[in-house]
Amino acid sequence: MENPFAEGENRIIRPPGTAIVIFGATGDLTHRKLIPALYNLAYDDYMPSNFVVVGAARTPLSDEDFRKNLFESVKKHSRRTINDELWQRFSQNIYYQQLDGTSLESFVKLRERLQSLEKKRAETLNYLYYLATSPSFFGPIATNLRGAGLVEDPKAAARSTSLIIEKPFGHDLASARELNSVLRKSFAEEQIFRIDHYLGKETVQNILVFRFANGIFEPLWNHNFIDHIQISFCEDIGVGSRAGYFDQSGILRDIVQNHLLQILALLCIEPPYSLSDADAIRDEKVKVLRAIRRLKPEDVARQTVRAQYTKGFVNGESAIGYMEEKGIAATSQTETFAALRLEVDNWRWSGVPIYVRAGKRLAKRITEISIAFKRAPESLFRGRQVGELDQNILAIQVQPNEGISLKICSKPPGPRLRVRPVVMDFTYGHSFGVPSPDAYERLLLDSMKGDASLFTRDDEIEEAWDLLAPVLEQWALPAGGKVARPPLHTYEAGTWGPAAAATLLKEQKHRWRRL
């Protein structure tokens, strides 16, 4: 071991002194998520004792005006109520720097500003760059940071310099590789934190604890006992103000490629050799993504469903169809719903279908993982007015109410032998007495500490794109071409998606879980 004092010292919660530079500081993400998350970290006393937050964007703003704007956002979006004294202390560490992401000169000024702030604090701060910008700026910003001397060698420097980027990480395999290649010209892979906020959710982190800290589940976690798995991401909202972006990407790229495949990977990984080494978990996730059987072009129509919502009702309110949304191309073939049947082709998971679905304008907002166990033999209950025994379902709800439930069969009280499903529930609020922190809080804290366990590595991104490549190719086939393009189905807004999604499961006598 290089550092003889490191062993056993893994209790550090408060990160070292850090300067966080947020590019795209006037944007929605900064106001709704990043600053409220940092404020909540300060509230819980997790922020470094010495930190600065520098907001950088094109708009000219004074430090004071920037703070005022942020105060309004934090009031609106923080999960904690505003404590005036804390806000005063917290906000005194926030600064604003006007910056053009494509101009090296701007970055030189940024360096001078950081150096001056650091000097005032008389402490060497780590530099953490958060790119809350359009992906088109990722390359130029990374290059200019390097050009301005704001990136240091991770092995040799006294301070760490890291880059956080938000999805999308490319729009297909080639562009993801290109992006990775551009970023690595300026930063080493270990300095790049690709954020997938789903990995910051408590229930998603709990997947590993649940699997590996409970003696009763891991022995069942394989094809001998698990019948199938469903991962559902359902939103009741439409595309809203993201129409322009969404119509270019679709839900497969926007949600499945990142959030849902990450969840799938965590569900299916082999035990990593350590939970302290970020790469130990990420290596295992890559193995899972690599083991998912690639679809042949002819499988795509059979194993995937895509659809667009039409007008309908969502929670009693009328909702317009996708094609009527502002900013959607009249000829749009973009899917707002995607469902896939996948299979992890390895020893543990052979023959277990994994159904993944994601959609907008569905009946309600819910993200859930459900693990359906194989049915018990029914012979004992035949002729006893029991009907078909329900499957035991282990459901992990990721949002809105993070928690875990287990559906079991039970005999209702009374003189007859009958069977009814009942649910054992665990919710974070009820069990731990506190609501779960926002995912960004955990991810920002980890990134300040330099822990990349909950961030996505370049090879994970590339494997995920590689997996979806045949689907994207088939879905993008021209209409009326030699090879038939899989149909774009429709579904009424406020329902659970197109009928074809149910058909996807029928072949194996499965049904989507009613959410």
């Binding site: 009741d236 309908g312 009702f313 969502v314 929670n315 009693g316 309110e317 009328s318 009946a363 309600k364 819910i366 859930e368 459900s370 007015q385 009907g387 379902i393 459901a395 709800q397 439930s405 559906k407 209702p412 009280p413 009374g414 003189p415 007859r416 009958r418 009814r420 499903p421 009942v422 649910v423 406020g494 329902t495 659970w496 879980r513 009613r514 959410l515």
Partner: protein, 356 residues
Amino acid sequence: MVDTQYSYTPTALGKISDTLTSIFAELQGEDAVYNRSANCNLIILVSGPQRLPALEQLIDALSLAHPSRFFVAFPDPSTSTVQASISARCHGLSKTEHVCSEVIRLSAAPAAFAGIPSVIRAHMLTGMPTEIFLYDPDVDIALIRAVAPLADSIFLDSQSFSTNFQKLAELLPLTRTVVDFSWVGLGVWREELKLGVNRCAAGLGRPQVRSIEIGFEGPSAAQPGALALLFAGWVVNRLGAAVLECGIDNCIRLCGADGSVIELKFVGSRSDQTERLSRVRLTLEAAGKEFTVEMLRAKLLETTVSGKDVHRATRPFEDESFEGRVRRHFFIGESLANYSGAVRVALKIRESLQSH
């Protein structure tokens, strides 16, 4: 007994979950815990607001037997958009612990009715069984069709469908399971017939039924209602017989599984009460000997099996009120195994009777 009934609180559609939470926060007392306890989603479809007062009794009875998240949906011409109001029903498990069902009332003018299924979908308890309760037979079939895909089973009382029995035929394909409280109420008659036939056929092989007579009493003596039809449907279906032709006086000729002719006759008598069976008589033949199994409604259900010997048996009727049958289904359960077949044949019998 339901001991706490929280009055209906109007709420915006987007606030249904929050309002439920706040109701339960208000209910909590220093000395008692009120648990939200629902083991299913129960969607009650009602034909109009005029039925709501009577429905409250049913909700009380159901919440005792079957704690649920209730959705009560009905058309209300006085409102143009979907309206929601929320209530809770609790009963004590002990002095300190109460179990509560949640009630979400949803109403809309018929023109806005299409929005109601979406509210139900948005608030269903995840992964729990979902059931539809057809409170009255006049519920718009379009609404039933819109909601049916959400449910595993439909509860109804075919007795209330006596004037619209054909509607049952439309409902059957919509769901995997129909729980008919008339069927539940007939359980004691089916059980006694089974035991009676056991007695006369003991050691003689499968008996051949020669005639079936079903007596009923109710507001109309002219034609059998749902109960008599359902029972006849069950008997004929179990015999594997087919309806041949209708004769006069509610008499039907059946073709038995062995090709023999079986006579089915309904005998009605008028009474002011709701329809009920008064008598069932089967004539059978086994090993060349003739038997009769006769069941009569008296204070008790009296069964006489006559052949070489005469056997008599009595059995008390169970609570035949609607609430009683509901309780019986949820507390004790009832076989639903042959229900669909019975309804299909009952519909054929009715068609045959009407065509005459």
